[in-house]
Amino acid sequence: METVILAGKTLALDADGNLANRHDWNEEIAREIAAIEGIPELTAQHWSVINFMRAVFEKEGDAPSIRRLTKESGVDTKTLYQLFPKGPAKKAARIAGLPKPKGCI
C-alpha cells in the first residue's frame, strides 16, 4: 500500500491515491492535499463543498453526485468547476479525504 506524508503524519492511500482511511483526515491535511492538486488556498466555498461531501459520505457511504452537489451544497455547477478545476467531484472527494465517488453522474 502506498503512503504519503501529510501534515507530519504518514498516511495510507488507496489504489486511486485518495486517503485509505477517512478518519486520518483533518483540515490541515485537506489544505496540503489541495496544494498538491493545484489549489493553493481553500476558500469558504471550497469548505462548504468539502464539508457537504463528508456529511453525505458519513450518512450514505458514497460521495454525492455533481447534480446533488449543485442542488444541495449551495454551490452551482459553474462555480464547482472553477473551485475544483479538472473534475470537481473527484478532486473534492480527494481533498475531503474520501474515496473516489462511485456514481456516473
Binding site: 491515491g17 453526485s65 455533481i66 447534480r67 455547477t77 479538472k86 473527484k90 456514481g103 456516473c104 453522474i105
Partner: protein, 159 residues
Amino acid sequence: MNNRSAQPIERVSIIVSHGSLEGVYPGLIMANGARMEGIEASLFFTFFGLDAIIRKRMHNLKVATVGNPAMHMPTVLGAIPGMSSFATSMMKKEMEKLDIPPVGEFLTMIHDAGGEIYACKASVDMFHLKAGDFCPEVDAVISVGQFYEKAAGGQIIFT
C-alpha cells in the same frame, strides 16, 4: 486500478444521432462523465438527435417500444397507444433514483461544466430549423468540417 500506461484521454467529441430517450441519454451521460474526469467534452447533435436540443421537443423524448428488441415486448403490445409514454415514465423514474437529471437540466449541467453543445448544419437545414428553435445551451450550428476541426486531437464517439 493504477495499471494504466496508455495516454489518458484529454478530449471527446460525442455525436448524438437518435432522438429517442435511450438514444440521447448515453451521449449526455458520457459527456457529463468526461467533464467530471476533467476531460474536455463536446456534443454534436445530428438528424433526429436534434430533438434533444429543440426547446419544444426536448422535454418530451420517448422510449421506443416498437422496433426495440431489448424492450422484450411483442411488437403489437409496443404499438398500443400510450405504451411508449408508459415505458418512458417508468424509465424516467428509475433514472431519477440514480440522480440522472431530465434532458433540459442535464444539458444545462454539461454546459455549465464547460461542455460545448453544437447542432449539425446539414440536419438543421434539412428540417428547416432556426437558431431560435434551440435551447440556449446550444453554442452554435456547425458544419461537419467545423465539427472535425473542433474534434482535432481527441476521440470521436458516435451514438
